[in-house]
């Protein structure tokens, strides 16, 4: 049964806040929920303040921004390719961004240049998949095969880069490739990009609905299809690059979250876009909290957690949506 869009947002909004509150309340140190409550009523000391506000909160916000960016990128790619199985991780966009980023870092680049490399990698990868799968129509099979092969290619390139990388960087690089927030200390850029993307796509939600009906149908309904496609193509690349530079390659958020929102509240993008951004952000905040705490003080890569949750969840959703269409 379908949920009303307002109901879904009324659930997801508070859930996002609750997720952030939980994420700052739990961690490897001695600071727990009680100390966070003390911080809220102003009776906490500086150590607590530092742990919560300077360590956990930026990391939780980075996780939220990354999750929102990935879920939005997934939803947009699914419209672009008219395929509910599209996702920046599966189609190699994340892999392209990761390979370019790693190459830039090994070449000694830093700061802006690394971000630019991530964006270039994401754009190059999307373009490659589109160009290769374009022949005739974007059939789901052809597209997925192309994406999977391109992703495998990036993965091979990453292995080569790791083989020549200095040994002391290997563990950090491996974690980053699996998705990791250990180095995510500045959430602002990613949050800003995710927020701007969500607001823009929400405002253009009706146009996204029309585009999802197919290129010819959209053109007949008065949509400038070409311009819209190019805009979405750039936006997905920017969102993916923002996520990858923040947390490496985190899989399954872009695939599972939009799917889940569509199943709950329907395919109108004026609910899919904000719903996916909120749910994706919350999911990644909680996944990162689990990654930090379950084997504390040891930290796990968050990408492993999202995959462990995402794979069975996706199979379940696929099975359910199949039954729903009969």
């Amino acid at each position: 049964m379908r949920m009303r869009p307002s109901t879904l947002i009324a659930i997801l909004g508070p859930a996002a806040l609750l997720g952030l509150l939980l994420a700052v309340s739990f961690g490897s140190g001695a600071v727990g929920p009680r100390e966070v409550l003390a911080l809220l009523d102003g009776s906490a000391d500086d150590t607590i303040r530092q742990v919560v506000l300077e360590l956990r909160l930026p990391r939780a916000l980075a996780a939220f921004g990354t999750g929102a960016a990935l879920a939005l990128a997934g939803a947009l790619m699914q419209v672009l390719l008219r395929n509910p199985l599209a996702d920046p991780y599966i189609l190699g966009t994340s892999g392209g961004a990761a390979a370019f980023t790693l190459a830039a870092m090994l070449a000694g680049a830093s700061g802006m240049f690394v971000d630019a490399a991530a964006l270039a990698g994401a754009l190059a990868s999307t373009l490659l998949v589109f160009a290769l799968a374009r022949r005739g129509q974007w059939t789901p099979e052809r597209l997925l095969l192309t994406g999977v092969v391109v992703a495998a290619g990036w993965s091979a390139l990453v292995s080569l880069l790791l083989a020549v990388a200095p040994e002391r960087n290997l563990r950090g690089a491996l974690f980053w490739l699996m998705g990791d927030f250990a180095f995510a200390d500045d959430a602002r850029a990613c949050l800003l990009i995710a927020a701007a993307g969500t607001i823009g796509c929400f405002a253009l939600g009706r146009a996204l609905n029309v585009l999802a009906a197919g290129d010819q149908q959209a053109a007949l309904l008065g949509l400038p299809v070409r311009g819209m496609r190019i805009g979405i193509y750039f936006l997905t690349a920017i969102l993916t690059a923002a996520a990858v530079t923040t947390a490496g390659t985190v899989g399954f958020v872009g695939l599972v979250v939009p799917h889940l929102v569509r199943l709950l509240a329907g395919a109108d993008h004026r609910i899919v876009v904000p719903g996916a951004a909120l749910a994706g952000g919350t999911l990644l905040v909680l996944a990162d909290m689990v990654a930090r705490t379950v084997l504390a003080p040891r930290q796990l890569p968050v990408g492993a957690i999202t995959a462990l949750v995402g794979v069975p969840l996706f199979l379940f959703l696929l099975e359910r949506s199949q039954r729903a269409t009969i």
């Binding site: 379908r2 699914q78 008219r82 395929n83 509910p84 405002a203 253009l204 009706r206 146009a207 609905n209 029309v210 999802a212 009906a213 197919g214 010819q216 149908q217 053109a219 007949l220 309904l221 008065g222 949509l223 400038p224 569509r262 199943l263 329907g266 395919a267 109108d268 004026r270 949506s321 729903a324 269409t325 009969i326």
Partner: protein
Amino acid sequence: MAASLDTFELGISAGARLLVSDLSLSLPAGSLVAMLGQNGVGKTLTLHALAGLRAPASGEVRIGGTDIRRLGLRERARRLGLLLQQQDDPFPTTALETALMGRHAHLGIWQWETGEDQALARTALAAMGLAGMEGRFCATLSGGERRRVGIAALLVQDPGIWLLDEPLNHLDPCHQLLVLETLSQLAASGRTVIASLHDPVLAMRHFHSALLLHGDGRWQFGPVATLLDAATLAALYGVDFAAYQGPGGTVMLPAPRAGSRTPALTAGGPGR
């Protein structure tokens, strides 16, 4: 919204093959045209060229006297609509949401559909015999139901020029009649309607004129009553036609072929 449709020396080709050559038609508002021809003669491509979806090999299309290439996309969508031959639904979109998409060109970029738009969509679905099915996912509809949702979306779009690519596909006789009556009403109200179909009987009964495409560049256009005789239909379809008299007048049906055999089915099949 009444509108005329004119073509000037329109050429339609697929790759190196010229399918339609020098098509010059002048259809005043209220025209009701059936497009007939064998599979693959360019009916769909011609409709797409008329709609501006595909650039013709040569010539131009004018609606209400204006070259369609000069019209903005939204303006074109308000004045001209096309029912595509196939529609697929990869996402869980409902019948109501699909019908509502017809309002897209009438609304501003940031605007949401109002209750009035919703009412228009519900009325259109009801007019296509789909009342009570507004909340159904399009992917769960039967072929004929999905076809009628597409026509309902066109009713919501409300253009002056109606192009329909095989609108009767998948429809049962009752709903074929419903769609044909709707097209007649649209033409009577000044809209220009062109629909491709494969039934000369329905073309004769429900349309004013016919456009016949032969697939080698040749085309014929004229009133159904005079154009669709046995000899013309035989030349068009490559099969003999015979006239039968019935209570509704004369109908043209393919004549049984003498000694006709389908080799694959008769060569030593079961029961022989």
